[in-house]
């Protein structure tokens, strides 16, 4: 049979051979559950939002782990009545053999609460700390043992250096959400996270699930967030308006879901949690350049100015 099999010329037998699969930086792709990282500017309400999402997911019957990735170690406070919980890095520092039960606490509706911890302010390297804590949790087979449906990583502040990008690198999480208000600095931080996602996603890092608008009070807040989302090619997972109820629940050391389960706000968090649970539409965002972001902000400054000066009559449209 004189069939032409191939017209390719092979040099030293290499042509046609498949390239070796790219070795992962570390073999950590969690086999169990959806792993979600939440980022956002400091003080924007990440922990509150994350805890309420965790609570809503747990209430819906899912097995949930929430990991606070912040040296302040207060991410899971409202899920477990503000009790003291030794952090993962506290135990590393102690130098003893670490057991999962020593560094985790069961909170509202069975949520497993973990705090990575970190150095005291002003010394050491918090970024490296997060990296070490996450690695240790994997070594302890946390996910295989607990078999979660969802793991939420509540990551501090901005992605200022490589250490803070750990949760979205190397396949630790496969999706990130960013919590932001309509304030420029919060959006600036969100845009920075987009840059990090944009950098790492092509090589196995997390993609973006969407934006969570939080603490929105002005009439134009949603429009600003929508506009930013559309320009960067991402979707908005939900809008959480500013509410006294959130602060009040927090003062009682509880999530809104626990403290005011029948409130409208609890339903907002439930809807948000459902969206996050169901959403598999993950994207690589297109962050704005520094100057574009500035121009965009100035443009919004003008619009908001006009709006305020026309007695609220002008319609705000993206």
């Amino acid at each position: 049979m004189s069939e032409i099999v191939s017209n390719r010329i092979s040099f030293s037998g290499r042509t046609g051979a498949k390239p070796a699969p790219r070795a992962r930086a570390r073999d950590t792709q969690p086999a169990v559950g959806k792993h979600i990282a939440l980022y956002g500017k400091g003080g924007i309400g990440k922990s509150t939002t994350t805890s309420n999402i965790s609570a809503a997911l747990a209430e819906a019957g899912y097995r949930v782990i929430q990991i606070g990735c912040d040296p302040k170690s207060d991410s899971t406070n409202t899920l477990r009545g503000n009790h003291y919980l030794p952090t993962v890095l506290d135990s590393v520092r102690g130098g003893n053999k670490v057991r999962l039960e020593d560094i985790s606490a069961t909170g509202f509706k069975g949520i497993l609460c973990i705090e990575s911890g970190g150095p005291v302010p002003g010394v050491g390297c918090a970024g490296r700390g997060i990296n070490a804590a996450v690695t240790l949790l994997q070594e302890l087979h946390l996910f295989e043992e607990f078999k979660p449906d969802f793991v939420l990583y509540d990551v501090l502040g901005d992605v200022v250096c490589g250490g803070f990008a750990v949760p979205i690198r190397d396949g630790i999480t496969d999706r990130a959400y960013v919590v932001t208000s309509s304030d420029f600095m919060a959006i600036y931080a969100a845009n920075n996270l987009f840059k990090a996602v944009n950098k790492y996603a092509p090589t196995g890092g997390a993609k973006l699930g969407g934006i969570i608008g939080n603490g929105l009070s002005a009439g134009y807040s949603n429009a600003i967030i929508d506009d930013f989302a559309s320009r960067t090619g991402v979707s908005v997972a939900g809008y959480v308006p500013r509410s006294l109820m959130v602060s009040q629940s927090e003062l009682y050391g509880k999530t809104v879901i626990e403290a005011n389960p029948k409130s409208e706000h609890a339903d907002i968090y439930r809807a948000l949690a459902k969206h996050i649970a169901d959403n598999d539409d993950l994207v690589i965002p297109q962050p704005l350049g520094t100057n574009d972001l500035r121009d965009w902000a100035r443009d919004w400054g003008d619009r908001v100015f006009n709006l305020e000066n026309s007695g609220g009559a002008a319609r705000v449209a993206a």
Partner: protein, 438 residues
């Protein structure tokens, strides 16, 4: 700098270590993860001192200290070091990891000093550059710190001769730096000065007398920042040279400059130089006759720090009528403009691969370089004289290629190489004749 292959001498931390080790009485304490100190011992084999080389106190920090800060570990290491190693000054030098984490070395040093242990610190982190940067940085830090450490000024000898500081010859910058320094000392003392070399046996006490010098002598650009700081701080004037003097002509100019500047006895200097010149002739004249037959006009390449390249290059071109075809400077950045000191082409590189390629493309009879150029010299079938680090098999004693004795040594080594090369050529020719191929 791209694609570095065998980058010669190590990082800034290594330069700081080489500097500290060379000062007797000074004990370095390395605040780093395991590996930084041993790499220094491996990369800079001919440095080291009382405390140094492979036995250096070090914190050997681990992940825990990176995350939470290594202050406590360092405090412990300073305390333990002072307990078991007798030093007049302990100097903490930090690594890249410590600098990135922001460990506060000076704070720890001050704390220890308050408890009576004389400790200085230098955040010298390897990423600041090569060994030269480390030399510069650690000495700058010591210049600032030393006055704070002891309230009483160091004991001053009752010696009327003016003191001059010798700066810019970096430990390990060339394999024979110890011999170079001692030769400079010999010349300086012969013309009526006291030399503050502070490396070697004079050690810590000499370091303490840096502020008391009448003049700072700078022998490479790596001493310029030090001299500038000493001038700012103590008003000491400076005299800057591109390189250490080599050969009677340069030493004479050097001596003359000092005689004028410090109002020394010109007659004494002259008598010394005359005697030295006569000695040099006595040693080399016989050999020189042969040299005129075989050595004149040899085409050479020089590889090393700017200081040694200039020092040896200008001596050879003047004294030995050698043709400097190629110079490769190993302590310069790629994008730096290097003045064309010689007629031949000038390069900056510390990448052994790149250096070998440059040498291969040059039309040369002899190479003055490091032991890393052994292979390319063999491939080109030209002799190699080691003038820059690493020297590998060649262990330096008190040998020098500086001053007047250095000129005799270099002249002799140069002639030896030429003769050996000629001998090899002759033997090869004979073999060819015997084999009937001539």
């Amino acid at each position: 700098m791209s694609n570095i292959e065998n980058p010669r001498t190590g990082c800034a931390l290594h330069g700081a270590l080489a500097t500290l080790e060379a000062i007797e009485g000074v004990v370095p304490i390395v605040h780093a993860n395991a590996g930084c100190a041993i790499q220094h011992a491996l990369a800079n084999q001919d440095t080291g001192g009382y405390i140094g080389g492979q036995s250096v106190p070090a914190t050997n920090i681990i992940d825990k200290q990176v995350i939470f800060g290594g202050g406590a570990r360092l405090r412990e290491q300073i305390k333990n070091t002072a307990k078991v190693i007798d030093g007049r000054l302990y100097v903490v030098v930090g690594s890249c990891a410590c600098a990135m984490v922001g460990d506060e070395l000076t704070g720890m040093a001050r704390e220890a000093a308050e408890q009576g242990v004389p400790v200085a610190a230098s955040n010298v982190a390897g990423f600041h550059g090569g060994v030269h940067r480390g030399y510069e940085r650690v000495l700058l830090d010591l210049i600032e710190r030393l006055p704070e450490l002891e309230s009483t000024p160091p004991h001053r000898e009752e010696d009327a001769r003016p003191l001059v500081n010798v700066l810019g010859l970096v430990p390990g910058g060339n394999p024979y730096y110890k011999g170079d320094l001692e030769e400079l000392r010999r010349i300086l003392e012969a013309i009526g000065l006291r030399a503050n070399v502070f490396f070697g046996p004079d050690g810590y006490a000499a370091l303490r007398s840096l502020p008391h010098a009448r003049l700072n002598l700078v022998f490479s650009r790596w001493g310029e920042a030090l001299a500038a700081r000493l001038e700012e701080k103590y008003g000491t004037p400076q005299l800057i040279f591109d390189a250490a003097p080599l050969g009677i002509e340069e030493v004479s100019l050097f001596a003359q400059a000092l005689v004028e500047r410090l109002d020394l006895d010109a007659g004494a200097a002259e008598r010394f130089l005359e005697r030295e010149e006569a000695l040099a002739e006595y040693f080399l004249l016989g050999a020189a006759n042969r040299y005129f037959d075989e050595g004149v006009g040899k085409r050479v390449a020089l590889v090393g720090d700017t200081e040694i390249v200039l020092r040896i290059g200008s001596f050879l071109s003047r004294f030995a009528a050698v043709d400097i075809r190629t110079t490769i400077h190993t302590d310069r950045d790629d994008d730096e403009d290097i003045p064309a000191y010689f007629d031949g082409d000038t390069h900056a590189s510390r990448d052994s691969g790149e250096i070998a390629a440059i040498l291969r493309a040059s039309d040369i009879d002899l190479i003055f370089a490091s032991a890393l150029e052994t292979d390319v010299a063999r491939a080109l079938d030209v002799p190699l004289l080691v003038i820059s680090p690493p020297s590998r098999d060649r262990a330096p004693g008190g040998q020098t290629y500086a001053g007047l004795r250095g000129a005799v040594a270099l002249g002799a080594d140069f002639l030896t190489l030429i003769r050996q090369a000629r001998r090899t050529d002759e033997e090869n020719a004979k073999r060819r004749i015997v084999a009937g191929r001539g």
